[in-house]
């Protein structure tokens, strides 16, 4: 992450809330008896804190540990995750699920950038399609899985669905989608907001009353009501539901009215008629919505002129009913009052709307429905919202509502700040796409490189932050690479760092790491990973694995160094019987992939041993000839360690004494004799490794060489 913002003054982009919160005091039970000498605190992954408490070092040098006192302890402290009811596992699921839409959108953007057709009009429409698709996919992901209803038969008394788990995250995402992405269909904005509130009304406030909570309370009491229309609560509930436009709830409630009962005692004809008339008016309310086939109550229109015409006509019908003479004849006082109130709401009477709603957001929706159905543009909406806020002030801070205000004020800074404050890094990293699509101003704000952020853009900053969050968990670190790879400035550097610090104990982990580093062409990182893995295995006694990785990393230096250690080990154990143990390792060294450094010798040595075995078995001259050739080559090769010279020659005495003919020529024999000479010189040097061969080995080799030389000279004459 780039350095922190230097000065929380006027030029900060994201306002940091400096309001002091009460510090949280946690008491730790570390179980280390006093005095505690030192305390070390360090962050572990995620929100895990490691606290080490140490006692002073013991005064007695020998420990005198009879008091069984521990020297100290490390305690893990898990700090609470306080975000809106979404568990960590659920958040991880969202994180995984948002990778494919994110990747698809970015790769489309990148392919566009390379085609440089940013200005054409076809690009614009295509862009909307892509961003809308992205938004829909993410929205789908945020859905909490709903359990299918237990009872198939609908209970008429269930007027509102109890929402078990409505994610505030999804509500916020939908708000951004409505305002930033569906901007094309701004004329449907009021209807979309009505739908939005219907789903998320329980989230607009945590402490205050809402229409939703009123209805829930009312539903509980419903069983106790004998004559429902006598109860003022009932009428309040109907008018509240009507005010926010939940027409199906209104219809359900009205159906509970006594006038729909079959066993009516009194003469209630006028009352019945009035209830029915109001119900019909409500059910035929004109609505502007794109999808005519939707199961919405009311008359749907998809073009504005049709809608305006129908709306005027409908208003006429409502006011006609309001002025009707039948009201005088209605004997049931509560029904009359209640129905008239409903009509007033339909006619957009401000005092009725205000009293029927609880929260300012609800008031705003009621205004959109009944007083300003033709509203256009955000500016008007913003003014209206501010008026509603004045009428229904709320003391409580609500992230969702602040986000909405930010959107209405057309302030990308505020939207970003609210996203970050309430919903965290995931929301900011993914929501910036919507925000940038919302307006050119926001687009520029997000993508402009900023000097005070270390020349990165705000978008990149938030991707980096999100990637940090992902990389702090052992299960999500690999998807952090997806986001880092999209960051043009600092992404790759951080990715290298991330890959570099992953644990490499198990080969699955190593492969995962290598796979990532190769797919981003970080060859130096993959080489280092292989070197680290190689040394780790080597140190833990897994020699084969160690050599395998170092070979792949083409690390000649280390291979040569460990070769020395390996040769010492072999010098002791490489008898003919134990050769099979080495077989696997030597096979590995024979592969031509990577380098094997000095270890190549082992492969040739094995081949010679094989040939010598065939010679001993008394098989063909060919084998002996080949063996002699390979012996000379081995002795010539600079990679053959000195300590193997004598053993090699001693092993080959039978070759030197080959009965049928001398196998080595004069020059070759001279070479071997020279080597023998070098060896006796080297004996004087410090650091000479003596092979543990029988004492007569040297003399028997010398004798054999001399014999061979003699025979070769005769042969060549």
């Amino acid at each position: 992450m780039p350095g922190r913002l230097s000065d929380p003054g006027a030029d900060t982009i994201v306002p940091i809330s400096l309001e002091s919160r009460q510090p949280v005091v946690l008491s730790l039970r570390h179980g280390v008896s006093a005095p505690v000498f030192r305390v070390y605190i360090s962050w572990s992954r995620g929100s895990l804190l490691h606290v080490a408490c140490l006692r002073p070092p013991s005064l007695e040098p020998d420990g005198a540990g009879d008091d069984e006192e521990e020297g100290g302890k490390v305690v893990e402290v898990r700090l609470g995750t306080g975000d809106g009811g979404i568990s960590e596992a659920q958040m991880r699921r969202i994180a995984y699920g948002s990778v494919p839409p994110f990747v698809e959108l970015q790769s489309w953007k990148n392919s566009l950038a390379s085609l440089s057709m940013m200005s054409s009009s076809s690009f614009r429409t295509e862009k909307w399609q892509y961003i809308l698709e992205y938004s829909r996919k993410v929205n789908e992901l945020l859905k909490t899985h709903q359990i299918p209803p237990d009872n198939v038969i609908e209970d008429p008394r269930i007027i509102v669905k109890l929402l078990k788990e409505t994610s505030s995250l999804r509500a916020a995402w939908e708000l951004m989608e409505i305002f930033f992405i569906d901007k094309q269909s701004l004329s449907w904005l009021p209807e979309r907001l009505v739908d939005w509130l219907e789903e998320y009304d329980s989230l607009v406030t945590r402490t205050d009353l809402t229409v939703y909570s009123k209805l829930v309370a009312m539903q509980k009491k419903l069983v106790d009501f004998k004559v429902i229309e006598d109860n003022p609560d009932y009428w309040e509930a109907v008018s509240s539901a009507l005010a926010v436009g939940w027409l199906d709830t209104v219809a359900k409630l009205l159906r509970l009215h006594g006038s729909y009962q079959l066993d009516q005692l009194d003469d209630r004809e006028t009352e019945n008629g009035l209830v029915e008339a109001v119900a019909v008016l409500i059910l035929t309310m004109p609505r502007l919505c794109p999808d005519l086939s939707s199961e919405k109550i009311g008359q749907c229109y998809d073009t504005k002129p049709d809608f305006i015409k129908a709306w005027e006509k409908w208003r006429g019908q409502v006011s006609k009913l309001e002025r009707s003479a039948y009201w005088v004849q209605c004997s049931h006082h509560q029904t009359r009052e209640g129905l008239q109130k409903l009509l007033k709401i339909l006619l957009g009477n401000i005092s009725n709307l205000t009293s029927a709603t609880c929260h300012w957001m609800e008031l705003l929706i009621s205004h959109l429905l009944y007083t300003r159905p033709f509203i256009m543009g955000l500016e008007g909406l913003n003014n209206l919202a501010q008026k509603c806020q004045q009428l229904k002030p709320t003391a409580e801070y609500n992230g969702l509502m602040s986000l909405l205000m930010g959107i209405l004020q057309e302030s990308p800074e505020a939207v970003l700040a609210e996203c970050s404050r309430t919903y965290g890094p995931w929301m900011v990293a993914h929501g910036t796409e919507l925000l940038a699509a919302g307006s050119d101003y926001a687009d520029i704000q997000l993508h402009e490189e900023r000097y005070n952020l270390g020349s990165i853009s705000i978008e990149e900053l938030h991707w980096l932050v999100y990637a940090q969050v992902l990389s702090s968990h052992p299960l999500t670190w690999q998807i952090a690479s997806t986001y880092l790879a999209q960051c043009p400035k600092q992404g790759l550097g951080l990715l290298e760092f991330l890959l570099y610090k992953q644990p490499l104990q198990h080969h699955q982990g190593i492969f995962k790491n290598l796979d990532l580093s190769r797919s981003y062409d970080l060859d130096n990182i993959s080489a280092s990973i292989m070197k680290i893995a190689g040394m780790h295995h080597w140190k833990h006694g897994r020699k084969g694995f160690g050599i395998y990785w170092l070979q792949l990393a083409r690390d000649e230096v280390r291979l040569n160094r460990i070769a020395q250690q390996l040769f010492e080990f072999i010098g002791r154990s490489l008898s003919d019987d134990s050769f099979q143990q080495w077989e696997g390792l030597i096979e590995l060294l024979g592969t031509r992939v990577g380098s094997s450094g000095g270890l190549e010798f082992l492969h040739k040595y094995r081949d010679l041993k094989r040939l010598l075995k065939q010679v001993e078995d008394g098989r063909a001259v060919n084998a002996a000839r080949l063996a002699a050739e390979s012996l000379v080559q081995l002795m010539k090769s600079p990679s053959t360690p000195q300590q193997f010279w004598l053993p090699l020659l001693y092993d080959s005495v039978s070759l030197l004494n080959w009965k049928a003919q001398p196998l080595l020529r004069v020059s070759e024999t001279n070479l071997l004799l020279n080597k023998l000479q070098d060896l006796s010189m080297a004996k004087m040097c410090p650091g000479f490794v003596d092979s543990n061969l029988p004492s007569h080995a040297l003399s028997s080799v010398r004798l054999a060489l001399a014999k061979n030389l003699g025979r070769a000279i005769l042969e060549e004459c």
Binding site: G46, R78, E88, A89, Q90, R92, R93, Y96, V99, P100, V103, H145, Q146, I147, P148, H473, P474, L475, Q478, Q505, H506, H507, Q508, F511, K512, L514, D515, R518, S519, H537, H540, G541, R542, K543, G544, F545, Y548, L552, Q580, Q581, W582, E583, G584, L585, E587, L588, G590, T591, R592, V593, G594
Partner: protein, 379 residues
């Protein structure tokens, strides 16, 4: 993304799923799946890893589509002291299902699962005191019938554990003292098995013969073009002389003991290009559901179709001389999979993103099940 009319159902687990196996059950309605899970967020490290036995239930779908969707019901769970490195299962003669699991810290566990209700009845263990393996047990295989389990490790040891009703003993078959490491193992017959390791090396073992392996497949067959590690071996009971091998660099090849110098490449190393050359093939398994176009008798020379899963999220069926058939292309790695021996059209797989996938392939018009895996004693 599923093709060929197959449907993948993802069952989120909220923890890492390292391996999955079907458990054959007695009832046609209950099907059990064993999964090795790991949760790094667990409050205590001892509760981080576990083997879970789930029953798979087909529930009517919540939305309007008429398809059924599978869901998991956790039947039992067994906590493991260390992360599971390999998982195998087999029915046993004692009416139980045996589930064998090895860990990263070197222990071996066998759980006996009740085939009716999926509960864990008893457990046998060889602890991680470095006697069995020093460090990671990289692979195990359970003999059909659950009497014997072979284990191999990065430390270069090969062990045979004999599983009784109440005790488990083991004997060392071989110890390379770290000079070679083994990363895959598979029984070929009740007395022979094959192991795989570094540099695409494959070894054939017969523990009745003294010393080490009986034969070895030379590892430089690729002429220096590529090298890698064997991750998985499968051997079909009717063709026990052929080892199907999957490993690094997107490589799948068959090693025929009768022609040991000439591997048959199905993918990678210059062969057919299904996978990128940086992909890892984590597992291979013969697919008895895919009916090979020409294989209709066990004597045919053609290789049987084989399914593989990879780090880059590919689940595919490979067939000699045919276009590879890609079943899945996920955004995340597929760590392991298992084809249901009783319903070979259904595949369970462990997805890297903390989920189990159930792939249901259309059954219609397929009569391949009769060609399925038979117990080795049959041949």
């Amino acid at each position: 993304m599923a093709e060929y009319g197959d449907i993948l159902h993802r069952l989120p687990q909220s923890k890492s799923v390292d391996a999955v196996r079907w458990l054959s059950s007695v009832s046609a309605f209950d099907r059990f799946v064993a999964s090795a899970v790991h949760d790094p967020d667990a409050a205590v490290p001892a509760a981080a890893s576990a083997i879970e036995i789930h029953s798979l239930i087909l529930a009517p779908s919540a939305d309007s589509s008429s398809r059924e969707h599978p869901c998991f019901h956790l039947r039992s769970s067994w906590p493991s002291s260390s992360r599971i490195s390999a998982l195998r299962s087999s029915p046993t003669p004692y009416k139980h299902l045996a589930v064998a699991a090895s860990t990263l810290s070197g222990s071996l566990h066998v759980l006996f699962v009740d085939p009716v209700d999926g509960s864990i009845e008893s457990e046998l263990s060889i602890p991680n005191d470095r006697s069995l393996h020093a460090g990671v047990v990289s692979a195990i295989d359970l003999l059909e019938g659950g009497r014997e389990c072979v284990t191999v490790g990065e430390d270069g040891r090969v062990n045979l554990a004999s599983i009784g009703e109440s005790r488990m003993d083991y004997r060392r078959v071989y110890d390379s003292r770290g000079l070679a490491s083994y990363t895959a193992v598979r029984w070929a017959s009740p007395v022979e098995f094959a192991t795989g390791g570094l540099g695409f090396g494959v070894q054939w073992w017969d523990p009745r013969k003294p010393g080490g392996f009986v034969s070895q497949f030379t590892s430089n067959w690729a002429q220096g073009k590529t090298t890698g590690i064997v991750h998985s071996i499968d051997i079909h009971p009717s063709r026990k002389h052929i080892c199907m091998v999957g490993g690094s660099a997107g490589t799948v090849f068959a090693w025929d003991l009768r022609y040991p110098q000439q591997p048959i490449l199905l993918s990678g190393a210059g062969g057919p290009e299904l996978l990128s050359d940086i992909d890892e093939v984590w597992q291979v398994q013969y697919d008895s559901h895919t009916l090979s176009s020409s294989v209709n008798s066990a004597t045919s020379a053609k290789l049987l179709p084989v399914m593989m899963c990879s780090e880059e999220g590919i689940l595919a069926v490979l067939e000699q001389g045919e276009e590879p058939k890609r079943l899945l292309q996920e955004y995340c790695a597929i760590n392991s999979f298992d084809i249901d021996p009783q319903n070979p059209s259904d595949v369970v797989c462990a997805l890297e993103w903390e989920a189990v996938g159930i792939l249901m392939r259309p059954k219609a018009g397929n009569y391949a099940s009769s060609f399925g895996r038979l117990p080795p004693s049959f041949h």
